[in-house]
């Protein structure tokens, strides 16, 4: 499994757990609100969970509110994490 694929599966699993959705619905194309039934509160807590999951002792991941507001789909989220240097 490539690093990208590994990252994607970790993120999808985390989103599925956090939003209480079946894993098969959490595709790259899935829209957090329209497809995964999230609301603004869910998205805030989802970003907190992602920060905790992907922070290491050397690198603390922080997703600023203005960045979180731009994340609408799973692909947005994966792209954001790749740009942020998460692997």
């Amino acid at each position: 499994m490539s690093d990208d694929a590994s990252l994607q599966s970790r993120v999808c699993q985390l989103v599925a757990d956090q939003l209480r959705q079946p894993l098969e619905k959490v595709t790259a194309e899935a829209h957090l609100i329209d497809d995964l039934d999230a609301d603004s509160l869910d998205i805030v807590d989802l970003t907190i969970a992602i920060e905790e999951e992907f922070s290491t002792d050397d690198h603390q991941l922080e997703i600023p509110e203005e960045d979180a507001a731009e994340i609408r789909t799973m692909q947005d989220l994966l792209d954001y994490l790749a740009t942020a240097g998460v692997s």
Binding site: R20, D37, S40, L41, V44, D45, I48, E51, E52, E62
Partner: protein
Amino acid sequence: MTASDRSADERVVITGIGPVTPIGTGVDAFWESLTQGRSGARRVPELIEAGLKVQIAADIPEFEPADYMETKSARRMARFAQLGVAAARLAVADAGLDLEAVEAERAAAVINTGGGGVTTIAQQSEVLNEKGPGRVSAMFVPMMAGNMASCQVSIELGLRGPALTSLAACAASVYAFIDSRRLLLDGEADIALAGGTESNVSALGISGLANMQALSRRNDDPEAASRPFDADRDGFVFGEGAVVCVIESLQSARARGARIYAEVLGGGRSADAYHITAPDPDGDGAARAMSAALRSARLNPDQIGYICAHGTSTPLNDAIETRAIRTVFGSHADALAVSSVKSMTGHLMGAAGALSGAATALALYHGVLPPTINLDTADPACDLDYVPNTARDSVIDAAIVNGFGFGGQNGVAVLARVDD
């Protein structure tokens, strides 16, 4: 004027009971435990691990929110709200009520509590201190707020009439009967889900109450720890749970052929204006609430046959409540049956009044009075008939339900038997 002089749309009755309690979930299990004299107290692992002075409580380890709601909804609720939603669903089912057939705008939720989501506050304080402000959950406020049990019941069940919450400590859910009756008589709603919920059996909650010296320390014998009116009582056993009742007009109940447990005849309230935790030593506030309740119900003291006592098992409460009953009922006090179901359930605080009201409605309906268990040694300061240790067959016409809270808030509801 007696109850029967009022027209059917001016009479308010209980047609459904939903208990989620330490002695049973659902009305059948709850009533069986009450009449068998079962205790719901146990040694609680979390309290033992924390090394607390008090390691016993009456909790509900088997409660599964997913049995009553979507797991996603459950995750957005503190446990007190989850328990409230579960109790509301059980009450609706017990009443045989088809919510689709009820006009949603005319359906109220009156779910009261003592503390709300205190455990959520404790958890998120830890997150704040350990991980920083950015990690505090966006769900924190809508989970911990005490009004959320009413709001979540309204959301989950689609009730669009008034949603009310009183935070009134141990009297809170006696208020739910009083306020629901008024909502119906004032024409503000046709049906109400009325009750209370509490869930704060945690190291934080227990420590605060233990340091107040309010709790029994009988750690080695939890089932004997709650012993209201007994000479060896040493405090209450903290409990969690929720009880919700379906309340509607007699007219509406008869029109849909519903089983009627009891009528809510009236209620009274008062404040001690004395101390933040101790009751007025003369029992003046408690006595005034009982008198106000009788006036509201238009009954004389000698028309009451049973008192579901506040009866917490603290040295002070039980003696003062006894004195207050003697003040209000005079010589009739010796003809009354008085019992404390807290001897079995522990003290559910914000849910205690609804639990007592449900127990009383069932007692009126079945003609059986629940006992006060663990009553082994008489206390000269507690000299009434407390239905010791064994349930008693007794057909009663009218009863009162007492709830006296920290802060000196007192609530008393009057319930009556309804003949078919």
